[in-house]
């Protein structure tokens, strides 16, 4: 039964033009971020060096190649050694030999930034970090928010007050203050604390939204009818209400992913962001402080707008599909 409904729903969704456009755009962006190392990196995808082999710097970290540029690595390779290089031999971290703020050219597709680093490589690797952060935190906060808000709205009474209070306590911590507090306490900034803090704060917001929607739906006649047939409040909430909430929650989820990425931007701008040498979109945009112009700022802005736009189109399509 559920299976058939789901298949029907997916079929309708995939037939929607907006969903198609959004899905294609998102897959292209995801493709570039997943295969970032195959496209632009200063470490080879595969090396055989003095009898031992290394695959993908992300999986096995060859210590001996640390802090080396592609041309230096190439110079150390002997006649028996072999390497499989990515399409472009520039990485996101190390400055290239070219001067900073260079215009786009064949060797640097989007030019170089204020520190002489390749903007294209940074964009690719930054996309991965930002997308992963947005998706993880967005999914986590949607899960927390929907579960808490649904239970609070459906069960009411003590549960409602309890969860409402919990949500309020977490929700009243602005993300920036919570992150600042954790950052000030930590000896060295960590990514995990950033994820947990932003997810908790976002989840609290979504829980409030869910609760309001559940309360509103429970006032409808069909909910009263379901209660009359003896359905338990939780069953009503998660079996009958969920489809009604899906459009609003889909939009909230999309906005959450987008806003997490934007929050990260603000945090990076205030020097509280992802503690990483690898670029994120936020960190790239933060270069505005060192007088970066449009050539450096536009790529991350466009990538950000594309991602958020694609997610939005998908959410919109979900809403349309449900409305039939």
């Amino acid at each position: 039964m559920i299976d058939r409904e789901l298949r029907e729903f997916l079929g309708r969704l995939l037939g929607n033009r907006r969903a198609q456009i959004g899905a294609i755009a998102l897959s292209v962006i995801a493709f570039f971020s997943i295969f970032a190392e195959w496209i632009a990196s200063d470490v080879p995808i595969y090396v055989r060096y003095q009898g031992s082999s290394y695959v993908l710097p992300a999986i096995t970290r060859p210590d001996r190649f640390r802090d080396m540029r592609a041309d230096q690595i190439k110079a150390t390779l002997g006649p028996d050694d072999a390497a499989l290089w990515p399409l472009l031999r520039v990485g996101p971290e190390a400055p290239t030999t070219d001067p900073p703020l260079r215009a786009a050219s064949l060797s640097h597709l989007l030019g170089t930034d204020a520190f002489g680093r390749d903007v294209f490589a940074r964009l690719l690797h930054g996309t991965r970090v930002s997308l992963a952060l947005g998706a993880t935190v967005g999914a986590l906060s949607l899960l927390i928010g929907f579960a808490l808000g649904g239970v609070a709205g459906a069960l009411g009474g003590v549960w409602d007050s309890l969860i409402e209070r919990l949500v309020e306590i977490v929700g009243v911590f602005p993300a920036v203050v919570a992150v600042a507090l954790v950052r000030a306490l930590e000896r060295r900034p960590s990514l995990l604390s950033l994820i947990v803090v932003i997810a908790a704060v976002n989840g609290a917001n979504i829980a409030r939204l869910t609760r309001v929607l559940v309360l509103r739906s429970l006032a409808e006649e069909w909910a009263v009818a379901a209660q009359a047939t003896g359905a338990s409040p939780l069953r009503i909430a998660f079996r009958h209400l969920a489809p009604h909430l899906a459009p609003a929650l889909a939009i909230a989820g999309v906005l959450a992913v987008g806003s997490v990425i934007l929050t990260e931007t603000s945090l990076s701008f205030l020097d509280l962001g992802v503690p990483s040498k690898i670029a994120t979109w936020g960190e790239m945009l933060g270069e505005i402080r060192w007088g970066a112009g449009a050539p450096i700022l536009l790529p991350p802005i466009i990538a950000l707008a594309l991602t958020v736009g694609a997610l939005y189109l998908i959410a919109d399509a979900i809403r349309k599909t449900f409305e039939v």
């Binding site: 203050v177 939204l209 701008f269 020097d271």
Partner: protein, 520 residues
């Protein structure tokens, strides 16, 4: 309704307690500075331990089964000095720090010690004698020091009583002559408890507003004198100049009170019921809560009271934030209603596209760009901040208003000749407004980050730059104060929102919901 309102307002208290517990839970995972090699290397062990103590990390979290007061500390120090083990040196400095407050518990027990240990302890006390102004070559001579302190105690035991200390503190604050100062110095740290009590009394609002006879000095002068005496007996270098102005004196007083909160167990003895009380109050949470509640979050790393800083800076930030949110939501609601009623697909798409672009463009870029082209102004900051927030209410509002416009009753109304204006104001606006009001109140915590960015770019000196500074300086006190302030603000707005929601849609008022549930 009034009862509901009161209940709701009372809920603020548990929420704020929850906030203290949450921040406390975070704070209790602070890495111990005394164990961080980097801190010890830059500040030295002594300072690192002091830092640890100022964060109450030497205390248990919620229950202290053996609160350590001055008597306990004297016991420990005596044991180490008598045994002359490897802690003897630190025991010596501890005794000097405890000073006069330790003498009533230390001197009567000298006779019970072995002669060699007795001499060691007596010589260790010589810096205290110097502070009290009674030092002679006797006090540093191992042969004669014991006799000196025995004689001292026979003569002066009667002075070491709280009533006498109180009198000495009072006389100094009233007269301020050198003799009075010398009297107080002779009690050394024994007088600290009374000095602090007088300071609190002098700074209380009652002292400021009650008429004072002309024979009494200005409270500020008295405070300055008492603090100078406290600085002398403790060796803290927090001394004010003669002509220090009122804010400086008050800031210094705040620092002293905070210091006293940390160090009080060094100078007071717990007897009877106060020992049981100390089991609860000499804990991390109690001390921390005391600092938050009584001292207004304590002082910042740079020595300014947090409360004062918050008062100076918060209004600007909150004003920018609330006006940006109101701007965004008013605009979004109007656009949602118009676009739902006209339902022209192309205009709709353009509208969404524009708001999506504004949403996806980071506030930092938009703000820098507009600041660069139009020059910094607070109004521009508000507009930029508001523009980035239009998307989410617009999307939600369009969804909800669209439902209303397509509903049967509106279609029926239309068939009966109801005009678009009436639909907009009578039906669409009312339904659309409801979730948007709820959304606006939760927008506030999110918007704070954007506000900080805008402040930074437009060069507004408010909460934002102070917070960035605090993170770099590990100024936890400021961040806790900030969390508290924003929590309070958000809570109060959310309560106001609840009432607004109930007012707009009577179906959602608490009474109506309860009635329905009970009926079902």
């Amino acid at each position: 309704m009034l009862r509901h309102a009161l209940r709701r307002l009372l809920w603020i208290v548990p929420i704020l307690i929850g906030v203290t517990l949450t921040s406390f839970a975070l704070l209790s995972y602070v890495p111990d500075p005394a164990e961080d090699p980097a801190v010890v290397a830059t500040l030295g062990t002594e300072h690192a331990l002091e830092l640890k103590r100022s964060r109450f990390l030497d205390l248990p979290r919620f229950f202290n089964e053996r609160p350590l007061d001055v008597v306990g500390r004297v016991d420990d120090a005596l044991a180490h000095l008598a045994a002359d083990d490897r802690f003897a040196e630190s025991a010596r400095t501890t005794l000097v720090r405890l000073g006069g407050a330790a003498l009533p518990y230390l001197l009567p027990r000298l006779d019970a010690l072995e002669p060699a240990a007795r001499a060691r302890v007596a010589v260790a006390l010589s810096p205290i004698a110097e502070r009290m102004g009674i030092a002679s070559d006797e006090t540093v001579d191992p042969e004669r020091a014991v006799a000196f302190w025995n004689r001292f105690w026979v003569d002066r035991a009667i002075d070491f009583r709280p009533a006498n200390a109180k009198r000495a503190a009072r006389r100094l604050s009233v007269h301020g002559t050198q003799t009075r100062e010398a009297d107080l110095f002779e009690l050394d740290t024994f007088a600290l408890e009374q000095i602090m009590a007088s300071l609190v009394e002098l700074s209380s609002p009652a002292a400021t507003f009650t008429p004072r006879p002309p024979t009494l000095p200005e409270p500020l002068d008295a405070m300055r004198r008492l603090m100078a005496a406290a600085a002398h007996v403790t060796g803290r270098e927090d001394v004010l100049t003669e002509d220090a102005a009122e804010p400086d004196v008050l800031a210094s007083l705040q620092r002293w009170r905070e210091w006293w909160l940390v160090h009080q167990p060094d100078y007071t003895a717990y007897a009877g019921p106060s020992r049981f009380l100390a089991m609860l109050t000499d804990t991390q949470y109690a001390k921390w809560a005391e600092r938050v509640v009584l001292l207004g979050f304590g002082t910042s790393v740079d020595g300014t009271p947090i409360l004062e800083k918050l008062r100076d800076r918060a209004p600007t930030t909150l004003l920018i934030m609330t006006s940006a949110i109101s701007l965004a939501y008013t605009l979004a609601l109007a656009l949602a209603v118009v676009s739902a009623i006209r339902s022209q697909r192309r205009a709709d798409a353009w509208l969404l596209g524009a708001s999506l672009t504004l949403f996806a463009t980071p506030t930092a870029c938009l703000a820098s760009w507009s600041a660069h082209h139009a020059g910094p102004s607070a109004l521009l900051g508000v507009i930029v901040l508001g523009a980035s927030m239009v998307l989410s209410p617009l999307a939600q509002g369009r969804l909800l208003v669209g439902e209303v416009v397509r509903s049967d009753y509106v279609r029926a109304g239309r068939a009966l000749g109801m005009g678009p204006v009436r639909i907009a104001f009578r039906h669409a606006l009312r339904i659309g407004l409801l979730p948007l009001v709820a959304l606006a109140s939760v927008e506030m915590p999110t918007a704070l980050g954007g506000t900080f960015v805008v402040e930074k770019i437009f060069g507004v000196s408010a909460l934002g730059d102070e917070t960035v500074r605090a993170v770099q300086a590990h100024d936890v006190a400021w961040l806790v104060g900030l969390a508290f302030l924003t929590a309070l603000f958000v809570t109060v707005t959310s309560i106001a929102t609840d009432f607004a929601v109930a007012a707009i849609d009577p179906r959602l008022s608490l009474a109506a919901l309860r009635h329905r549930r009970m009926g079902a």
